[in-house]
C-alpha cells in the first residue's frame, strides 16, 4: 500500500509527512506529527473530542481523510498557548473547573475558539449551540459554558489569540 505525501500547516508550522491511504487526520496528527492534544473518542462523529480547526472552522479530525487537508491550516489545542502564556480559554477552563477527567477538553476548547473567533461576545444559548457536538460525561456542561462566557468577557483586557 503506497504512502502519500501530505503538506499542511499545523498551528502555524509547515508539516510534511507521508500518510497511509484512508488514514484519518486525527491519526496523522497524533502518530504522524506527534501532536497528542486532539483525542480519539468514538470514531463516529458523536463525541467531538477530536475537533480541530481546518482553515479556522471546526471539523472532526477522526472523520477527515488526511490527504484531503493538503495545503490547509490546522489548529489544535496544542497551538493555543503562547509559550508559558495560556490562552484565555485555557485559563478560564482552569478557573471554572471546566475539566474533570479532561478527555473532552481539547474538543471543547476548539469548538469554543471557533465560536469566539467568529462571535466575540456570544449569548449563553450561542455557547450551548457551539458545543452541542461535544459530549462531556463529567461536568454537566455548566462549568464549561461558564468558562467560555468568562473567556469572552476577559477578552477585552487581553488580545484574544
Amino acid at each position: 500500500m503506497a504512502k502519500k505525501p501530505l503538506h499542511f500547516r499545523l498551528n502555524g508550522a509547515e508539516k510534511a509527512v507521508f500518510v497511509d491511504e484512508g488514514q484519518n487526520l486525527l491519526d496523522v496528527l497524533r502518530r504522524g506529527v506527534g501532536d497528542l492534544t486532539p483525542k480519539y473518542g468514538c470514531g463516529q462523529g458523536a463525541c467531538g473530542t477530536c475537533t480541530v480547526l481546518v482553515d479556522g472552522e471546526p471539523h472532526l479530525s477522526c472523520l477527515t481523510l488526511a490527504e484531503a487537508v493538503e495545503g490547509r491550516r490546522i489548529t489544535t489545542t496544542g497551538g493555543l498557548a503562547q509559550g508559558n502564556q495560556l490562552h484565555p480559554l485555557q485559563t478560564a477552563f482552569m478557573e471554572n473547573f471546566a475539566a474533570q477527567c479532561g478527555y473532552c477538553t481539547p474538543g471543547m476548547l476548539m469548538a469554543a475558539k471557533a465560536l469566539l473567533d467568529r462571535n466575540p461576545s456570544p449569548t449563553r444559548q450561542e455557547v450551548v449551540e457551539a458545543i452541542s457536538g461535544n459530549i462531556c460525561r463529567c461536568t454537566g456542561y455548566e462549568p464549561i459554558i461558564n468558562a467560555i462566557l468568562e473567556a469572552a468577557k476577559s477578552r477585552g483586557a487581553r488580545q484574544y489569540g
Binding site: 471546526p58 472532526l60 472523520l63 484531503a68 452541542s132
Partner: protein, 272 residues
Amino acid sequence: MPVRVETYDRIEDAARALSASRSARFLGGGTLVMRAVNEADQSFDTIIRVRDASLRDIRAEGDRVTIGAGATMSDVIANRELAFLAPVARAVGGPAVRNMATVGGNLFAASPYGDFTAALLALGATVNLAGAVSRGVAIEDFLRDRDRGANALVQSVTVQRPHDASAFRFLKVSRVKPKGVSVMSIAAYLPLSGGRVSGARVAYGAMGPTPVHAVAVERALDGQPLDAAAIERAAAVATEGLDPPTDALASSWYRRQVAGVHLKRLLTAERR
C-alpha cells in the same frame, strides 16, 4: 483490509470509476464513509473522491435551486436562496458535523440519520446523477433503489422553492437537548389554494430504512382546510402503512405512539 483512495479532478471520471466498481464508496464530507473506515467496514475497499469545487455550488434559477452534492449543511445555512432549508440544516449534528456533512451524503445516511433528505422528500426534490448522460430522478425513485447497490454518483439535487415560505414546515424530535439523533423528523409541504391544502407532501425521517412519505397523512390533508378537525384526522393516521424501526433511541412501538402527537404539534404551530 486497508482501503485504497482514488482522487479525480473531474466529476465524470469519478462517476465512471464509481460505476465500474462494486466495492467502492464515494467520499463526501466523511461523516459516513470515514466512520465506516474507522469501524473497519469490510463492504468496500476503495474510496473515490473528486477535487472539482463545482460539486459544492448552489445555483438558483427562477424558483428552482440546484444544490451541489458537495455543499455542506453550513453552506446551506449561509445561502440566502435556501433560507427555507436553513432550519433543517441547523438540525443536523453540531457545528463541526455541519461543516463536513454534505447534502449528497445525507441522501445515503441510514436511519436514524437523514433528516435533510426527509425535507427534500417533502419538497419533491430531483436527484441529479452524474454519468455519461447525466439524468435527474425523482427522490422517491432514488431512495427506493438506494440500497440496491446502484453505484451512481449524485451530482446535485434540485428543489422548487416554496412559493409561500410558511407552506413548508420541519420538526426534528430528539431526546438529547439541544442536539441529539432523531427519534423522528417530520417535514411537511402544505401549499394552500383557496384556503385548502392542495398537493400535500409529508415525509418522515427515522420512520423506515430511508425517509418515507406519510401517504395516509397526505391523503387526510389534501383538499381540506388546515383546521383542527383535519389535523386531528391526519394525526390519527400518522403511522398508517409505515413500519417504524426499533433502534437504540426508540422502539417501533414508541415511534408509533408519539408520531401523531409530534405531527399535530408541527401542523398546529404558528405559521412562521
